[in-house]
Protein backbone atom coordinates (compact mmCIF):
# COMPACT_ATOMS: atom_id res chain seq x y z
CA UNK A 1 0.00 0.00 0.00
CA UNK A 2 1.23 3.52 -0.72
CA UNK A 3 2.01 5.86 2.14
CA UNK A 4 -1.22 7.24 3.53
CA UNK A 5 -0.82 10.05 6.01
CA UNK A 6 -3.82 10.92 8.10
CA UNK A 7 -4.25 13.51 10.79
CA UNK A 8 -4.97 11.47 13.92
CA UNK A 9 -4.70 11.57 17.68
CA UNK A 10 -2.64 8.93 19.47
CA UNK A 11 -5.87 7.43 20.77
CA UNK A 12 -7.15 6.99 17.19
CA UNK A 13 -3.82 5.44 16.25
CA UNK A 14 -3.87 2.84 19.03
CA UNK A 15 -7.39 1.86 18.02
CA UNK A 16 -6.54 1.58 14.32
CA UNK A 17 -3.41 -0.44 15.02
CA UNK A 18 -5.23 -2.84 17.36
CA UNK A 19 -7.95 -3.52 14.79
CA UNK A 20 -5.31 -4.04 12.11
CA UNK A 21 -3.55 -6.51 14.43
CA UNK A 22 -6.74 -8.55 14.70
CA UNK A 23 -8.00 -7.43 18.09
CA UNK A 24 -11.61 -8.55 18.40
CA UNK A 25 -12.43 -8.28 22.09
CA UNK A 26 -12.16 -5.36 24.48
CA UNK A 27 -13.06 -5.03 28.14
CA UNK A 28 -12.31 -1.78 29.91
CA UNK A 29 -13.17 1.02 32.27
CA UNK A 30 -13.01 4.75 31.41
CA UNK A 31 -10.04 6.77 32.62
CA UNK A 32 -8.45 9.91 31.19
CA UNK A 33 -6.32 10.19 29.08
CA UNK A 34 -7.17 6.81 27.53
CA UNK A 35 -10.98 6.85 27.56
CA UNK A 36 -11.34 7.71 23.86
CA UNK A 37 -9.84 4.35 22.94
CA UNK A 38 -12.58 2.54 24.84
CA UNK A 39 -15.40 4.69 23.49
CA UNK A 40 -13.87 4.45 20.02
CA UNK A 41 -13.96 0.66 20.32
CA UNK A 42 -17.56 0.79 21.53
CA UNK A 43 -18.50 2.69 18.35
CA UNK A 44 -16.71 0.14 16.17
CA UNK A 45 -18.31 -2.77 18.01
CA UNK A 46 -21.77 -1.26 17.63
CA UNK A 47 -21.38 -1.59 13.84
CA UNK A 48 -19.27 -4.74 13.61
CA UNK A 49 -20.71 -7.93 15.10
CA UNK A 50 -17.31 -9.65 15.14
CA UNK A 51 -16.01 -7.22 17.76
CA UNK A 52 -16.92 -7.81 21.39
CA UNK A 53 -17.13 -5.00 23.91
CA UNK A 54 -17.66 -4.99 27.65
CA UNK A 55 -17.58 -1.91 29.89
CA UNK A 56 -16.85 -3.33 33.32
CA UNK A 57 -17.36 -2.01 36.85
CA UNK A 58 -13.65 -1.42 37.52
CA UNK A 59 -10.22 -2.16 36.11
CA UNK A 60 -9.75 -5.41 38.02
CA UNK A 61 -12.89 -6.73 36.36
CA UNK A 62 -11.70 -5.33 33.02
CA UNK A 63 -8.48 -7.32 33.30
CA UNK A 64 -10.21 -10.49 34.49
CA UNK A 65 -12.77 -10.27 31.68
CA UNK A 66 -9.93 -9.74 29.20
CA UNK A 67 -8.35 -12.96 30.48
CA UNK A 68 -11.71 -14.69 30.01
CA UNK A 69 -11.71 -13.51 26.40
CA UNK A 70 -8.16 -14.77 25.81
CA UNK A 71 -9.02 -18.22 27.16
CA UNK A 72 -11.76 -18.43 24.56
CA UNK A 73 -9.24 -17.59 21.83
CA UNK A 74 -10.12 -13.96 21.28
CA UNK A 75 -7.44 -11.34 20.67
CA UNK A 76 -8.58 -9.53 23.77
CA UNK A 77 -7.06 -6.33 25.05
CA UNK A 78 -7.66 -3.42 27.36
CA UNK A 79 -6.59 0.15 28.00
CA UNK A 80 -5.99 2.05 31.19
CA UNK A 81 -3.99 4.74 33.00
CA UNK A 82 -2.87 5.97 36.42
CA UNK A 83 -4.74 4.49 39.36
CA UNK A 84 -6.61 2.22 36.96
CA UNK A 85 -3.21 0.85 35.98
CA UNK A 86 -2.62 0.10 39.67
CA UNK A 87 -5.81 -1.99 39.89
CA UNK A 88 -5.23 -3.84 36.66
CA UNK A 89 -1.91 -5.18 37.90
CA UNK A 90 -3.99 -7.73 39.82
CA UNK A 91 -5.21 -9.54 36.68
CA UNK A 92 -1.85 -8.75 35.06
CA UNK A 93 -0.02 -11.06 37.47
CA UNK A 94 -2.56 -13.80 36.80
CA UNK A 95 -1.75 -13.44 33.10
CA UNK A 96 1.93 -13.49 34.04
CA UNK A 97 1.85 -16.78 35.90
CA UNK A 98 -0.37 -18.38 33.22
CA UNK A 99 1.73 -16.94 30.33
CA UNK A 100 -1.32 -15.40 28.68
CA UNK A 101 -1.12 -12.99 25.71
CA UNK A 102 -2.69 -10.12 27.66
CA UNK A 103 -2.31 -6.89 25.67
CA UNK A 104 -2.76 -3.55 27.37
CA UNK A 105 -2.19 0.05 26.38
CA UNK A 106 -1.35 2.43 29.24
CA UNK A 107 -1.60 6.22 28.88
CA UNK A 108 0.56 7.46 31.73
CA UNK A 109 -0.84 10.41 33.68
CA UNK A 110 0.55 12.36 36.61
CA UNK A 111 0.95 10.74 40.01
CA UNK A 112 1.13 9.73 42.80
CA UNK A 113 -2.57 9.17 43.35
CA UNK A 114 -5.02 10.91 41.02
CA UNK A 115 -2.22 13.36 40.12
CA UNK A 116 -3.11 14.97 36.80
CA UNK A 117 -5.01 13.66 33.81
CA UNK A 118 -2.31 14.95 31.51
CA UNK A 119 1.09 13.31 31.28
CA UNK A 120 4.02 11.66 33.06
CA UNK A 121 6.57 8.85 32.90
CA UNK A 122 5.79 7.71 36.42
CA UNK A 123 4.20 4.34 35.65
CA UNK A 124 7.41 2.68 34.54
CA UNK A 125 8.03 0.67 37.72
CA UNK A 126 4.38 -0.34 37.75
CA UNK A 127 4.42 -1.48 34.13
CA UNK A 128 7.67 -3.42 34.58
CA UNK A 129 7.06 -4.99 37.97
CA UNK A 130 3.55 -4.07 39.15
CA UNK A 131 1.71 -6.46 41.42
CA UNK A 132 3.48 -9.35 43.15
CA UNK A 133 5.31 -9.73 39.87
CA UNK A 134 8.65 -11.06 38.70
CA UNK A 135 8.49 -8.79 35.66
CA UNK A 136 7.67 -11.63 33.28
CA UNK A 137 6.02 -9.32 30.76
CA UNK A 138 7.06 -7.21 27.81
CA UNK A 139 6.86 -3.42 28.07
CA UNK A 140 7.14 -1.39 24.87
CA UNK A 141 7.66 2.37 24.91
CA UNK A 142 6.81 4.25 21.70
CA UNK A 143 8.45 7.66 21.34
CA UNK A 144 6.15 9.29 18.80
CA UNK A 145 2.82 8.74 17.14
CA UNK A 146 4.21 6.88 14.11
CA UNK A 147 6.03 4.46 16.36
CA UNK A 148 2.88 4.12 18.44
CA UNK A 149 1.12 2.75 15.37
CA UNK A 150 3.83 0.17 14.68
CA UNK A 151 4.47 -0.82 18.30
CA UNK A 152 0.79 -1.36 19.08
CA UNK A 153 0.65 -3.88 16.25
CA UNK A 154 3.94 -5.41 17.33
CA UNK A 155 2.64 -5.83 20.88
CA UNK A 156 -0.12 -8.16 19.66
CA UNK A 157 2.40 -10.14 17.65
CA UNK A 158 4.82 -10.52 20.57
CA UNK A 159 2.02 -11.40 22.99
CA UNK A 160 0.65 -14.23 20.85
CA UNK A 161 3.96 -15.43 19.42
CA UNK A 162 5.55 -15.87 22.86
CA UNK A 163 2.35 -16.10 24.97
CA UNK A 164 3.42 -13.29 27.25
CA UNK A 165 1.57 -10.31 28.77
CA UNK A 166 2.53 -7.20 26.78
CA UNK A 167 2.13 -3.55 27.69
CA UNK A 168 2.33 -0.57 25.37
CA UNK A 169 3.46 2.17 27.72
CA UNK A 170 2.36 5.49 26.25
CA UNK A 171 1.44 8.74 27.90
CA UNK A 172 -1.17 11.47 27.78
CA UNK A 173 0.80 13.65 25.37
CA UNK A 174 1.26 10.78 22.96
CA UNK A 175 -2.43 9.94 22.85
CA UNK A 176 -3.95 13.42 22.97
CA UNK A 177 -1.71 14.96 20.30
CA UNK A 178 -3.16 15.38 16.83
CA UNK A 179 -0.54 14.86 14.13
CA UNK A 180 0.01 13.15 10.76
CA UNK A 181 0.57 9.39 10.74
CA UNK A 182 1.10 6.86 7.98
CA UNK A 183 -1.31 4.03 8.79
CA UNK A 184 -0.83 1.95 5.66
CA UNK A 185 1.63 -0.65 6.93
CA UNK A 186 0.24 -3.80 8.55
CA UNK A 187 2.74 -5.95 10.43
CA UNK A 188 2.53 -9.77 10.36
CA UNK A 189 0.42 -11.37 13.10
CA UNK A 190 0.03 -14.70 14.82
CA UNK A 191 -3.23 -16.62 14.85
CA UNK A 192 -5.15 -16.69 18.13
CA UNK A 193 -6.06 -20.12 19.50
CA UNK A 194 -8.51 -20.97 22.29
CA UNK A 195 -7.08 -22.36 25.51
CA UNK A 196 -10.36 -23.95 26.56
CA UNK A 197 -12.89 -26.25 24.88
CA UNK A 198 -10.40 -27.35 22.28
CA UNK A 199 -10.56 -31.09 22.84
CA UNK A 200 -8.04 -31.36 25.66
CA UNK A 201 -8.95 -30.77 29.31
CA UNK A 202 -6.94 -27.99 30.92
CA UNK A 203 -6.80 -27.10 34.59
CA UNK A 204 -5.06 -23.75 34.96
CA UNK A 205 -3.72 -22.95 38.40
CA UNK A 206 -2.02 -19.96 39.95
CA UNK A 207 -1.91 -21.38 43.46
CA UNK A 208 0.63 -24.03 44.41
CA UNK A 209 0.74 -26.11 47.57
CA UNK A 210 4.49 -26.36 47.99
CA UNK A 211 7.49 -24.04 47.55
CA UNK A 212 9.30 -26.45 45.25
CA UNK A 213 6.22 -26.82 43.04
CA UNK A 214 6.06 -23.06 42.49
CA UNK A 215 9.84 -22.85 42.08
CA UNK A 216 9.67 -25.43 39.31
CA UNK A 217 6.90 -23.47 37.59
CA UNK A 218 8.86 -20.22 37.90
CA UNK A 219 12.07 -21.75 36.57
CA UNK A 220 10.24 -22.66 33.40
CA UNK A 221 8.82 -19.14 33.10
CA UNK A 222 12.21 -17.51 33.68
CA UNK A 223 13.92 -19.74 31.11
CA UNK A 224 11.21 -18.99 28.58
CA UNK A 225 11.52 -15.28 29.28
CA UNK A 226 15.29 -15.31 28.82
CA UNK A 227 15.00 -17.10 25.48
CA UNK A 228 12.30 -14.71 24.31
CA UNK A 229 14.24 -11.65 25.46
CA UNK A 230 17.03 -12.30 23.01
CA UNK A 231 14.48 -12.29 20.18
CA UNK A 232 12.53 -9.19 21.06
CA UNK A 233 14.75 -6.80 23.04
CA UNK A 234 14.94 -3.48 21.25
CA UNK A 235 16.64 -0.09 21.61
CA UNK A 236 17.92 2.84 19.59
CA UNK A 237 21.52 4.00 19.86
CA UNK A 238 21.76 7.27 17.97
CA UNK A 239 25.16 8.77 17.18
CA UNK A 240 26.74 7.11 20.20
CA UNK A 241 29.89 5.70 18.52
CA UNK A 242 32.12 8.67 19.30
CA UNK A 243 29.85 10.48 21.77
CA UNK A 244 31.45 12.11 24.80
CA UNK A 245 28.09 12.88 26.31
CA UNK A 246 25.21 10.39 25.99
CA UNK A 247 21.66 11.22 26.94
CA UNK A 248 19.46 8.38 28.20
CA UNK A 249 15.77 8.97 27.65
CA UNK A 250 12.67 6.93 26.75
CA UNK A 251 9.17 7.39 25.34
CA UNK A 252 8.22 10.89 24.20
CA UNK A 253 11.20 12.35 26.06
CA UNK A 254 13.36 10.00 24.01
CA UNK A 255 12.17 11.65 20.82
CA UNK A 256 12.75 15.13 22.26
CA UNK A 257 16.28 14.01 23.11
CA UNK A 258 16.82 12.81 19.54
CA UNK A 259 15.94 16.24 18.19
CA UNK A 260 18.31 17.85 20.70
CA UNK A 261 21.16 15.51 19.72
CA UNK A 262 20.55 16.14 16.01
CA UNK A 263 20.74 19.88 16.52
CA UNK A 264 23.95 19.70 18.54
CA UNK A 265 25.56 17.32 16.02
CA UNK A 266 25.00 19.97 13.32
CA UNK A 267 27.39 22.12 15.29
CA UNK A 268 29.88 19.29 15.55
CA UNK A 269 29.16 18.43 19.18
CA UNK A 270 29.95 14.83 20.13
CA UNK A 271 26.67 13.90 21.74
CA UNK A 272 24.54 10.76 21.41
CA UNK A 273 21.32 9.17 22.57
CA UNK A 274 20.44 5.79 24.04
CA UNK A 275 16.72 5.09 23.98
CA UNK A 276 15.27 1.75 25.10
CA UNK A 277 12.25 0.64 23.07
CA UNK A 278 11.51 -2.39 25.22
CA UNK A 279 11.58 -1.15 28.80
CA UNK A 280 11.34 -4.77 29.86
CA UNK A 281 13.33 -6.73 28.86
CA UNK A 282 15.98 -4.02 28.93
CA UNK A 283 18.71 -3.93 26.27
CA UNK A 284 21.66 -3.97 28.70
CA UNK A 285 24.24 -4.86 26.06
CA UNK A 286 23.42 -1.97 23.77
CA UNK A 287 23.22 0.44 26.71
CA UNK A 288 26.71 -0.55 27.83
CA UNK A 289 28.05 -0.23 24.29
CA UNK A 290 26.48 3.21 23.88
CA UNK A 291 28.60 4.74 26.67
CA UNK A 292 31.98 3.26 25.64
CA UNK A 293 33.44 6.64 24.71
CA UNK A 294 31.33 8.74 27.05
CA UNK A 295 32.61 10.56 30.10
CA UNK A 296 29.26 12.13 30.90
CA UNK A 297 25.72 10.76 30.93
CA UNK A 298 22.51 12.75 31.07
CA UNK A 299 19.35 11.01 32.26
CA UNK A 300 16.20 12.85 31.19
CA UNK A 301 12.79 11.64 32.36
CA UNK A 302 9.40 12.90 33.53
CA UNK A 303 9.63 11.09 36.84
CA UNK A 304 11.74 11.37 39.96
CA UNK A 305 14.25 8.76 38.84
CA UNK A 306 12.42 5.52 38.02
CA UNK A 307 14.31 5.27 34.71
CA UNK A 308 17.54 6.64 36.19
CA UNK A 309 17.73 3.75 38.63
CA UNK A 310 17.52 1.23 35.78
CA UNK A 311 20.23 3.07 33.84
CA UNK A 312 22.62 3.35 36.76
CA UNK A 313 22.14 -0.28 37.72
CA UNK A 314 22.72 -1.39 34.13
CA UNK A 315 25.90 0.65 33.73
CA UNK A 316 27.24 0.25 37.26
CA UNK A 317 30.04 -2.19 36.42
CA UNK A 318 31.12 -0.72 33.11
CA UNK A 319 31.44 3.05 33.15
CA UNK A 320 32.99 5.74 35.29
CA UNK A 321 31.07 8.45 33.49
CA UNK A 322 29.56 11.20 35.59
CA UNK A 323 25.75 11.38 35.78
CA UNK A 324 23.62 14.47 35.40
CA UNK A 325 19.91 14.25 36.08
CA UNK A 326 17.14 16.09 34.30
CA UNK A 327 14.22 14.78 36.32
CA UNK A 328 10.90 16.57 35.91
CA UNK A 329 8.24 14.40 37.57
CA UNK A 330 4.91 14.64 35.69
CA UNK A 331 6.12 17.51 33.47
CA UNK A 332 7.08 17.45 29.83
CA UNK A 333 10.71 17.87 28.72
CA UNK A 334 11.27 19.72 25.45
CA UNK A 335 14.14 19.33 22.96
CA UNK A 336 15.29 22.86 23.87
CA UNK A 337 15.67 21.95 27.54
CA UNK A 338 17.69 18.83 26.71
CA UNK A 339 19.83 20.75 24.23
CA UNK A 340 20.56 23.38 26.85
CA UNK A 341 21.47 20.78 29.45
CA UNK A 342 23.73 18.89 27.05
CA UNK A 343 25.44 22.15 26.03
CA UNK A 344 26.19 22.89 29.68
CA UNK A 345 27.74 19.45 30.05
CA UNK A 346 29.98 19.62 26.98
Amino acid sequence: MPEKKELLTGNDVVLKAAVLAGANYFAGYPITPSTEIMSGWAKLAARDKTLEFLQTEDEIAAGMATIGGLLAGKKAWTVTAGVGHVLIQDPMVLAETLSLPFVMYVGQRGGPSTGTVIYSQQELNLARYGGNSEGLRVVYAPSNIQELFEITQKAFHTAWRYRIPTIILGDGYLTKTLSPVDTSKALPQEKAEPYFLNGEVKNLRNCFSREDELAEHLNILFAKYAAMSRQIVESESYKTNDAKVVVFAWGTVGFAAKVAVTNLRKNGKRVGLFRPITMRPFDDKSAIKAVKKANKILIAESSGGQFGRIVRETLSQTTKAEYTRLYKPAEGITPEEIEEKLSEML
Binding site: L178, S179, V259, K266
Partner: protein, 190 residues
Protein backbone atom coordinates in the same frame (compact mmCIF):
# COMPACT_ATOMS: atom_id res chain seq x y z
CA UNK B 1 15.53 18.61 12.48
CA UNK B 2 15.82 22.33 12.68
CA UNK B 3 13.59 23.88 15.31
CA UNK B 4 13.83 27.25 13.57
CA UNK B 5 11.61 25.85 10.85
CA UNK B 6 8.73 25.28 13.23
CA UNK B 7 6.20 27.92 14.27
CA UNK B 8 4.89 27.50 17.80
CA UNK B 9 1.48 28.83 18.73
CA UNK B 10 -0.43 28.70 21.98
CA UNK B 11 -4.14 29.43 22.02
CA UNK B 12 -5.45 30.06 25.54
CA UNK B 13 -8.91 30.85 26.78
CA UNK B 14 -11.80 29.64 28.78
CA UNK B 15 -13.69 26.46 28.01
CA UNK B 16 -16.49 27.29 25.56
CA UNK B 17 -14.64 30.15 23.84
CA UNK B 18 -13.64 28.00 20.91
CA UNK B 19 -10.00 27.42 21.82
CA UNK B 20 -10.21 23.88 20.48
CA UNK B 21 -11.97 25.03 17.29
CA UNK B 22 -9.24 27.54 16.48
CA UNK B 23 -6.56 24.95 17.21
CA UNK B 24 -8.21 22.30 15.04
CA UNK B 25 -8.70 24.66 12.10
CA UNK B 26 -5.09 25.81 12.28
CA UNK B 27 -3.78 22.25 12.61
CA UNK B 28 -5.84 20.82 9.78
CA UNK B 29 -5.05 23.76 7.47
CA UNK B 30 -1.33 23.33 8.11
CA UNK B 31 -1.68 19.61 7.36
CA UNK B 32 -3.58 20.37 4.15
CA UNK B 33 -0.81 22.81 3.21
CA UNK B 34 1.68 19.94 3.41
CA UNK B 35 3.45 21.05 6.58
CA UNK B 36 4.46 18.99 9.57
CA UNK B 37 2.04 19.69 12.34
CA UNK B 38 1.18 18.81 15.92
CA UNK B 39 -1.60 19.92 18.26
CA UNK B 40 -1.70 19.06 21.93
CA UNK B 41 -4.76 20.10 23.94
CA UNK B 42 -4.11 20.80 27.59
CA UNK B 43 -6.77 21.07 30.24
CA UNK B 44 -7.73 19.99 33.74
CA UNK B 45 -10.14 17.32 34.88
CA UNK B 46 -13.27 19.42 34.49
CA UNK B 47 -15.42 18.84 31.40
CA UNK B 48 -16.54 22.48 31.17
CA UNK B 49 -15.11 25.83 32.25
CA UNK B 50 -11.54 26.23 33.46
CA UNK B 51 -8.62 27.45 31.39
CA UNK B 52 -8.10 25.60 28.15
CA UNK B 53 -4.80 25.65 26.25
CA UNK B 54 -3.80 24.41 22.84
CA UNK B 55 -0.15 23.85 21.87
CA UNK B 56 0.15 23.97 18.08
CA UNK B 57 3.32 23.57 16.03
CA UNK B 58 3.69 23.61 12.26
CA UNK B 59 6.34 24.10 9.64
CA UNK B 60 8.86 22.31 7.44
CA UNK B 61 11.10 21.13 10.28
CA UNK B 62 10.65 18.07 12.50
CA UNK B 63 8.51 18.46 15.58
CA UNK B 64 10.35 16.96 18.54
CA UNK B 65 7.85 17.13 21.35
CA UNK B 66 4.16 18.01 21.52
CA UNK B 67 4.78 20.66 24.16
CA UNK B 68 7.29 23.52 24.03
CA UNK B 69 8.92 26.04 26.35
CA UNK B 70 8.36 29.27 24.41
CA UNK B 71 5.67 30.31 21.99
CA UNK B 72 6.25 32.37 18.85
CA UNK B 73 2.64 33.47 18.95
CA UNK B 74 0.51 33.46 22.07
CA UNK B 75 -3.20 34.16 21.73
CA UNK B 76 -4.94 34.94 25.01
CA UNK B 77 -8.72 35.15 24.83
CA UNK B 78 -9.62 35.78 28.46
CA UNK B 79 -8.04 37.40 31.52
CA UNK B 80 -8.25 34.16 33.50
CA UNK B 81 -5.75 32.61 31.10
CA UNK B 82 -3.09 35.35 31.51
CA UNK B 83 -1.40 33.79 34.53
CA UNK B 84 -1.31 30.26 33.10
CA UNK B 85 0.44 31.37 29.92
CA UNK B 86 3.17 33.59 31.40
CA UNK B 87 5.72 30.78 31.59
CA UNK B 88 5.55 30.28 27.80
CA UNK B 89 6.54 33.86 26.95
CA UNK B 90 10.01 34.34 25.50
CA UNK B 91 11.75 37.51 24.32
CA UNK B 92 10.45 37.02 20.76
CA UNK B 93 6.90 36.03 21.60
CA UNK B 94 4.09 37.98 19.96
CA UNK B 95 1.26 38.42 22.44
CA UNK B 96 -2.15 38.60 20.74
CA UNK B 97 -5.15 39.33 22.93
CA UNK B 98 -8.78 40.34 22.78
CA UNK B 99 -8.64 43.96 23.90
CA UNK B 100 -12.35 43.97 24.73
CA UNK B 101 -11.96 41.25 27.36
CA UNK B 102 -8.47 42.08 28.59
CA UNK B 103 -7.37 45.62 29.49
CA UNK B 104 -3.85 46.79 28.74
CA UNK B 105 -3.10 47.41 32.43
CA UNK B 106 -3.72 43.71 33.16
CA UNK B 107 -0.69 43.02 31.00
CA UNK B 108 1.57 45.67 32.55
CA UNK B 109 4.18 43.11 33.61
CA UNK B 110 4.40 41.44 30.20
CA UNK B 111 7.27 42.97 28.27
CA UNK B 112 6.94 41.57 24.79
CA UNK B 113 5.42 42.85 21.59
CA UNK B 114 1.64 42.92 21.95
CA UNK B 115 -1.11 42.89 19.40
CA UNK B 116 -4.48 44.02 20.77
CA UNK B 117 -7.44 42.95 18.63
CA UNK B 118 -10.90 44.24 19.45
CA UNK B 119 -12.48 40.95 18.44
CA UNK B 120 -15.52 40.87 20.73
CA UNK B 121 -16.81 44.38 19.97
CA UNK B 122 -16.12 44.02 16.26
CA UNK B 123 -18.00 40.74 16.12
CA UNK B 124 -20.89 42.17 18.14
CA UNK B 125 -21.24 45.30 16.02
CA UNK B 126 -20.48 44.10 12.52
CA UNK B 127 -21.15 40.34 12.42
CA UNK B 128 -22.34 37.99 15.17
CA UNK B 129 -20.94 37.58 18.72
CA UNK B 130 -20.14 33.91 18.01
CA UNK B 131 -17.52 34.60 15.35
CA UNK B 132 -15.17 36.62 17.56
CA UNK B 133 -12.75 33.69 17.70
CA UNK B 134 -12.48 33.54 13.91
CA UNK B 135 -11.38 37.19 13.99
CA UNK B 136 -8.61 36.17 16.39
CA UNK B 137 -7.72 33.22 14.15
CA UNK B 138 -7.35 35.74 11.32
CA UNK B 139 -4.81 37.62 13.42
CA UNK B 140 -2.71 34.47 13.99
CA UNK B 141 -2.75 33.54 10.31
CA UNK B 142 -1.80 37.08 9.24
CA UNK B 143 1.12 37.03 11.66
CA UNK B 144 2.61 33.62 10.93
CA UNK B 145 2.16 33.98 7.17
CA UNK B 146 2.94 30.31 6.55
CA UNK B 147 -0.47 28.94 5.61
CA UNK B 148 -2.36 30.16 2.57
CA UNK B 149 -5.82 31.62 3.22
CA UNK B 150 -7.56 29.03 1.06
CA UNK B 151 -6.51 26.24 3.40
CA UNK B 152 -7.77 28.11 6.45
CA UNK B 153 -11.06 29.05 4.80
CA UNK B 154 -11.69 25.50 3.72
CA UNK B 155 -10.98 24.14 7.22
CA UNK B 156 -13.26 26.78 8.78
CA UNK B 157 -16.04 25.51 6.54
CA UNK B 158 -15.26 21.87 7.42
CA UNK B 159 -15.22 22.64 11.11
CA UNK B 160 -18.62 24.33 11.06
CA UNK B 161 -20.26 22.18 8.39
CA UNK B 162 -22.95 20.95 10.80
CA UNK B 163 -23.71 24.46 11.97
CA UNK B 164 -24.06 25.73 8.39
CA UNK B 165 -26.90 23.28 7.84
CA UNK B 166 -28.96 25.06 10.50
CA UNK B 167 -27.64 28.60 10.01
CA UNK B 168 -26.21 28.94 6.51
CA UNK B 169 -25.42 32.64 7.06
CA UNK B 170 -22.48 31.58 9.24
CA UNK B 171 -20.49 30.59 6.19
CA UNK B 172 -20.52 34.23 5.15
CA UNK B 173 -20.03 35.53 8.72
CA UNK B 174 -16.97 33.31 9.29
CA UNK B 175 -15.42 34.37 6.01
CA UNK B 176 -15.96 38.01 6.91
CA UNK B 177 -14.62 37.49 10.44
CA UNK B 178 -11.46 35.90 9.08
CA UNK B 179 -10.91 38.83 6.69
CA UNK B 180 -11.55 41.38 9.43
CA UNK B 181 -9.08 39.61 11.73
CA UNK B 182 -6.35 39.87 9.13
CA UNK B 183 -7.27 43.50 8.39
CA UNK B 184 -7.26 44.55 12.04
CA UNK B 185 -3.78 43.08 12.39
CA UNK B 186 -2.49 45.31 9.60
CA UNK B 187 -4.20 48.36 11.06
CA UNK B 188 -2.46 47.95 14.41
CA UNK B 189 0.92 48.13 12.72
CA UNK B 190 0.01 51.17 10.67
Amino acid sequence: MNNQNITKVIVAGEGGQGVQSIAHILTKAAFAAGLNVSFLPNYGVEQRGGVSLGFIQFGKGIIGFPKFSQADILLVMRDRAIERTKRYIGSNTLYIYDSDLIKADQLSDIYVQKLPISATSTANQKLDPKVFNIILLGAIVAECGLIKDKFIESEIDNNFADKYKIKPQFKYLNKKAFEIGKKLTKEVYR
